[in-house]
């Protein structure tokens, strides 16, 4: 306990907690909508694009977080255009995009020497090394995402539940889809810093999947997803500090454990009743 307490005094640990909790909340809330839209893998696809964005940043010497943000948000917009216009199957478009993003990343790595280590950190997450500038950007964007979700709550919920009726009620369905995808792009880039490209989809999907199992209404789904995400990230980071394990692994395994507990306690409960 004392070790942990001393951990809270360290600047790097405080920064990790602050950024992790903010980003985790944004990911989880958005994740509820994406999971219900059966569009959770869009996070995975966009994460690959942000990987290319990071590589571009490292290659040309920009702040990787910023180049990743720009590239990912632009691609999110393009993805929606492609889907709405060409009628490409959603998962095919995502597969095309992920492989393209990853290929660009690999190409840039091979062209430069010495950036392998940095890029590696983005693959697997390096929240404990986050800089204070990155913390500020992450927190500001996470708060912005949460505020947008609150502000457009009705539009997001209605179009997710019944897109046709929502459109008839005067909600611009396509613009809502666009906005959600752009928000997904932003949170993915932020989440990549926390748990890495390969696990960022977990931040969106796991708390949402757990919450959807037990929520009786939509309000509860959002509240539970938020609580699960915040506690998983808090405990996961503490564990990673205490046991010296990778933060990303701690957070994701913890979340998965909670999901399994809910799943099994529910199925046992169902059998009895």
């Amino acid at each position: 306990m004392e070790v942990l307490w001393s951990g809270f005094q360290y600047g790097f640990f405080q920064r990790a907690l602050l950024a992790g909790l903010g980003v985790g909340l944004a990911c989880a809330l958005l994740g509820v909508f994406l999971v219900l839209r059966k569009d959770a893998m869009i996070g995975h696809g966009l994460a690959h694009i942000s990987f290319a964005g990071v590589a571009v940043g490292l290659f040309f010497g920009f702040l990787p977080l910023l180049s990743a943000l720009v590239l990912t948000v632009i691609t999110a917009g393009l993805l929606i255009k492609i889907r709405q216009k060409a009628g490409v199957y959603g998962d095919t478009a995502i597969a095309l995009m992920s492989s393209f993003g990853f290929a660009v990343g690999i190409l840039l790595v091979s062209l430069s020497s010495g950036m392998n280590v940095d890029l590696f950190a983005y693959l697997f997450g390096d929240i404990l090394t986050i800089s204070s500038l990155e913390v500020k950007i992450s927190l500001a964007l996470a708060v912005a995402v949460v505020l947008v979700i609150i502000f457009y709550f009705r539009n997001f919920l209605f179009t997710t539940f019944d897109p046709e009726a929502a459109q008839v009620a005067g909600i611009p369905e396509k613009r809502v889809e666009y906005l959600l995808t752009v928000l997904a792009g932003i949170t993915v880039v932020l989440g990549m810093k926390v748990v890495g490209l390969l696990l960022v989809v977990a931040l969106m999907v796991i708390p949402a999947a757990s919450a959807l199992r037990i929520a009786r209404n939509f309000r509860q789904a959002l509240v539970f997803a938020g609580i699960f995400s915040l506690s998983e990230i808090f405990v996961g980071l503490c564990l990673s500090f205490l046991l010296d394990i990778p933060a990303a692994a701690g957070i994701v395994l913890l979340g998965f454990g909670i999901y399994l507990i809910i799943l099994f306690s529910q199925s046992r409960f169902r059998q009895r009743s």
């Binding site: 219900l36 609150i150 502000f151 709550f153 009705r154 919920l157 209605f158 539940f161 019944d162 046709e164 009726a165 929502a166 459109q167 008839v168 009620a169 005067g170 919450a211 959807l212 929520a215 009786r216 209404n217 939509f218 309000r219 509860q220 789904a221």
Partner: protein, 259 residues
């Protein structure tokens, strides 16, 4: 043509006018020169075989699809300029096809349709409670307000969707095959509810349906669509038409042929 007969001499103006509308998906022509007027107090059955273009026509009326030719006017306005969407209640064919695990309560489903609803209206119990509760009372679902919608039966879900449409106090209600997969007694109660809304509140109703059985009891107008509008008239005239006799002859085909 019967439609001219029933529409001439009316003093009130139609709520919905479909004027010479044609539409096709790619090359396939689905609607050809359709004319149709809906007046206050109408309870119109829009019937026709599968693939006749009924859903397509509804979507054009709702501005979800743009006609290739012709135009739609809603409440005397061009559809592009029309802003009063709360005046039109819509229950899509796929309304009850949502994921049963979708965690949304009856209260939230109805509140969704309130244009002025903000996030806190979904969170506090007091705000907008009256509107939502009243709409649920009309359909007799007020005791289920906090139930998760996926846990209700198909017939109960349909009532909630009616409440969702009614919460904005519409003047027209459009239902696209609302009772597919609902048992007969429940259907009967459902159509009684619609008839009551039509009579007591003067709500105009467009009911897309396969079942000619129900049109005998409740509706006062019939439009039969098969790419073109092949029949349009009052219910009384419809029952005496050759068209109806012919339909009865093919009747069971039309009733039981589900997608």
């Amino acid at each position: 043509m019967p439609s001219d007969v029933i529409e001439s001499g009316r003093l009130d103006s139609p709520l919905i006018e479909v004027i010479g509308v044609s539409f096709g998906y790619n090359q396939l022509e689905v609607l050809s020169e359709v004319n149709l007027n809906i007046y206050s107090g109408d309870f119109l059955a829009l019937i026709g075989p599968n693939g006749a273009g009924k859903t397509t026509l509804i979507k054009i009326i709702l501005n979800l699809l743009k006609p290739k030719k012709g135009e739609v006017r809603l409440f005397q306005q061009k559809i592009k300029e029309f802003k009063d969407w709360p005046l039109i209640g819509y229950i899509p064919q796929k309304a009850t096809h949502f994921d049963p695990l979708f965690p949304v309560s009856v209260r939230e489903v109805v509140a969704m349709n309130l244009p002025q609803a903000r996030w806190f209206d979904f969170w506090t119990k007091k705000m907008k409670e009256e509107d939502v509760l009243r709409a649920l009372q009309v359909v007799g679902m007020e005791n289920y307000i906090d139930e998760r919608i996926g846990y209700l039966s198909g017939g109960q879900q349909q009532r909630v969707f009616i409440a969702r449409a009614l919460v904005t106090h519409p003047r027209v209600l459009i239902l696209d095959e609302p009772t597919t997969g609902v048992d007969a007694p429940t259907q009967e109660k459902f159509y009684d509810l619609l008839a009551r809304l039509n009579k007591e509140e003067g709500l105009a109703i467009i009911l897309v349906t396969h079942e000619i059985g129900i049109i005998n009891r409740h509706v006062n107008k019939v439009a039969c669509l098969n790419r073109r509008l092949v029949y349009h008239g009052t219910h009384g005239e419809f029952c005496q038409s050759d068209f109806f006799r012919q339909m009865l002859a093919d009747g069971h085909h039309m009733i039981f042929h589900k997608h």
